[in-house]
Subunit: 323 residues, 2 copies
């Protein structure tokens, strides 16, 4: 089973503190590193947690509030100064390209590597940005952003004050594990093995069919991680989240500030718990904490009353996706 | 004598490391706090070194390389989220207003306090930005940016790859100290005292003139701090720096990289020493170190061979201006 995990770089929200950086995390799938959001200080935390910048080829930015992208210009500059040549793909609301372009243009920075922006959204980037999020979301579904033979990554619309997106990291159905003893028993060729691992039955020389289930061990279920911040409590998200192995969900406030959560289009920890419960996820990770909470145990407690399989996202800590 | 000091928040250059943040420092004059440059992470370091954000009303940005301003959007946002109402003045190359405007506009951020940009430069901001720095500097002199009854702050042009400015913080000639015994001796009124402290002689009732020097103790010489980064070695700066109490000067490289210094329009530590020596400053502070130097002692040593009164700018440390 290839590695699949999430390392939290920043679990804070709009005002960073000494204890909590703004939003950023890395998803490691099979040693391929994806960066999700990039608040101020992300490049410092990448160093702190020994994650090599240049291994990042794909960055996903949920929305254009500063705590989710103010670290991006600095990270790109540093990648360039350290000699990067490989393309960097950025999946983001369309206006980010305009912002980065003007910043580099005014600094007379010319990058030595290609920066490829992939604007999110079904209306095209300009239109989504100028529409109420509800409208953007109403007709929006999932959109595949990246795919290789083992993983695919999709976006889905969130309800926040501005255009905002969640991201789904889905392992593709893994190949079956072949039983070692059958290789010798049937003198299987490499080609036979590859076909069987994909799920085929075996036709032997004497015309017998050996069913796949007798040749293989069941592979694990494909794993799924979902990044879901920032969002108001929104039950229409549940279909996107269903039965995922790990869900990171906006938990900006505790119940004492539930009206503030609604006003600012954020969620409480308890609301994150309800979403996790109804979506039947395996594990919930709370994040995007307001700086007003020094002690996060109240958020954990309120979420666990609804959904016991809940943890607090701790900066520098790595969480496995699935088991 | 009112306090006058510099606290270094970041003494690194383009690529931040765990040990060294990009450019930023605060100048404290009489408990008025001025921020000079604002690299990524400045707001974190303001917290770390217990400097209250909202006391900053004036920010000076030397130029638009990212290591000098990428922390500014986040700092402004945080000031706003923490309830700021007072105006914030930003002295900077003209294009910075355009950059900040577009970032806040695309995030739909509307600040609750006035943000007042003061573009630097004699040609107007657009023109300076598009001219070779030499030309901008050639006809450029000092420009007063801010003034109150005790201090004035000026800009002067530096030779760097893009439009770039140094800043001069000059104490105004301090009031004379009145001798306590003369107050009673001549029955001085508050008005008399104020006039004498400004340097006037005293006319007594019997028509005698008492010269000021008999009434007062000499005040200290006005103190001066100069921030001079980023710049190539440039003797034409010396007239701007002459006899200042403290000079912070670009020292990106040691002598092993002197050709790299010229190519990138930076200085070596030894060159900073020569400038300090010829300008007859009292103390030199080296800064803007390349991340290639983990151990800065070679830079200190090379500068001290030319100018012994040299120190390394250490993050979190406060340096007095004058004595």
């Amino acid at each position: 089973m290839v590695p699949f995990s999430v390392t939290v770089l920043g679990a804070g929200s709009a005002t960073p503190t000494l204890e909590r950086y703004p939003a950023s995390q890395v998803v490691n799938f099979n040693e391929q590193i994806f960066l999700v959001d990039c608040g101020e200080g992300t490049q410092i935390n990448l160093r702190k947690y020994h994650i090599r910048f240049q291994r990042i080829n794909h960055i996903f930015i949920s929305h254009l509030h500063g705590d989710h992208f103010y670290g991006l210009p600095g990270l790109i500059s540093t990648m360039d100064l350290l000699g990067r040549k490989n393309p960097l793909h950025i999946y983001c609301p369309g206006h980010l390209e305009e912002i980065i372009d003007i910043m580099f243009n005014r600094s007379q920075v010319v990058l030595d590597f290609p920066l490829q922006f992939h604007p999110l959204g079904f209306f095209g980037s300009d239109k989504v940005g100028s529409l109420p999020t509800e409208q953007a979301g109403a007709s929006g579904g999932k959109e595949t952003l990246y795919e290789n033979d083992r993983i695919f990554i999709e976006s889905f619309p969130l309800k926040h004050r501005i255009e905002c997106w969640g991201f789904i990291f889905s392992e593709k159905p893994p190949l079956h594990n072949i039983r070692k003893e059958v290789i010798e028993q049937y003198s299987l060729s490499f080609k036979d093995i590859a076909t069987i691992k994909k799920g085929s039955d075996l036709q032997t020389a004497d015309g017998t069919t050996v069913p796949n289930r007798e040749l293989t061990l069941p592979a694990h279920s494909p794993r799924r991680y979902i990044y879901c911040t920032d969002t108001v409590y929104d039950e229409s998200l549940i279909p996107f989240l269903r039965k995922s192995d790990l869900l990171y969900h906006d938990s900006t406030f505790a119940n004492d500030k539930s009206s503030r959560a609604r006003e600012t289009f954020h969620s409480t920890a308890e609301e994150a718990g309800y979403i996790a419960k109804h979506a039947e996820v395996r594990k919930l990770l709370l994040g995007h904490f307001s700086s007003r909470y020094n002690d996060l145990s109240i958020l954990l407690q309120e979420a666990r009353q609804v959904f016991p399989e809940t943890d607090i996202a701790e900066e520098g800590k790595t969480y496995p996706v699935g088991f």
